[in-house]
Amino acid sequence: MKRVWLVFALLVLAAGTCLAQFSLNGLDPFKLAKDAGTLIKGVAGISLKEENSIGGAVAIEIVARFGGVWKDAAATQRVNIVGKSLTRYCDRQNLDFKFGILNSDTVNAFSAPGGYVFITKGLYDLVGDNDDQLAGVLGHEITHVTQRHALKIIERGDILSGVSSGWSDATAARNDNYAVFGTVVGKGVSTICEKGFDPKTEYAADTGGRALAAITGYAPGGLRATLIRLKMGGTNQTAVIFPTHPSLDKRIKRLPEE
């Protein structure tokens, strides 16, 4: 029994250390200790309410990191009409997907739990007026959301396992314990924007995105064509293209030509 408490104390300490790199104004990470009962209790899985809370916060972080939103109404409407055509046939019909364009010349795309999908202006310009390629990119990001890729990482995080379980029991969200919430969001942002998913997860998003584009009626080779264009963009461009993903060569090879 003593060992359980020792492990728990280390968990709380580790979470506090983690938060030192993810400071939240005026909050004491060690407030976690007060929620000991909740943390021990734990709850499996993240509910939709919690997914929306995490996803909204992750979306804010993504927008802040990539130059804000490009407020071109026509372009944003186009991304939404293509994106929502795809989500009409996705496997999580209970989500409310939103699609936006980040005001950044880098070429990249991101998604956050709950249904937030962003592509950069650089990527929007690259696909131009080709809806098949746009659908391929959006399908990839939609699949990350429907298959809960970021949430699975949050749920299985080594240090965060206790913390996220405690948070999912709702003390963080409902009692203003943003220290715990900030840790969970930090894990999501770090995965999506910095460390990236493992190659297996990225390939799953490629396959799922291709299938979604195809069933919606877009050319299934749209994503592959975009990846080839990215590859041909040269060293300067590829240096900032999907830095979090497996190599373009490997992804192109795995996708069928049509």
Partner: protein
């Protein structure tokens, strides 16, 4: 020539879509919408013959391109493959569907706006500008409602309207 090119492009997209479908005769499929119509014919605008609840198991009896002839108990009819799932959706999802009728969802308000916890998070981290940007995206997105998506799919002959 252009006409032929268009035909072959459409045919190749259709064939690719069929090839991507994982369904064969004898497979199971699951409804993933709150209610799924089974149709008299493999056409989007065909007459509905049955309405099936969320997460119901369907038996695939025939495959015709992207359309499946399925049965569930005494009900039998056609369904577009994009409207069903290979795996049974979580029962938890059933309680979290958004209202779908136009009267319940307006075009100016996001159907599920930025969560309050996320808003507070943005404020506490000094990310008010980014928060406002996300809300702008939500407003733009809300203007593309179900009716607009259906009209787009029909006009472009996409999805079940192909």
């Amino acid at each position: 020539m252009k006409k032929h090119a268009r035909f072959w492009l459409a045919a190749s997209v259709l064939l690719s879509a069929s090839a991507l479908l994982a369904y064969d005769v004898g497979d199971k499929a699951y409804t993933k919408k709150l209610a799924t119509n089974l149709l008299e014919e493999p056409k989007a605008l065909a007459k509905p013959v049955a309405k099936i609840d969320f997460a119901a198991e369907l038996n695939v009896e025939q495959v015709n391109g992207a359309w499946l002839l399925v049965s569930a108990g005494d009900n039998r009819g056609w369904v577009f493959a994009g409207n069903v799932a290979e795996k049974k959706p979580s029962d938890d999802y059933k309680t979290s569907f958004l209202p779908s009728s136009a009267s319940e969802t307006t075009a100016s308000i996001a159907a599920r706006p930025l969560d309050e916890v996320a808003k507070n998070y943005g404020d506490q981290k000094g990310l008010g500008e980014a928060k406002a940007d996300v809300e702008w995206v939500e407003q733009q997105s809300a203007q593309v409602d179900d009716a607009a998506v259906t009209a787009y799919l029909q006009a472009k002959k996409l999805g079940e309207y192909k």
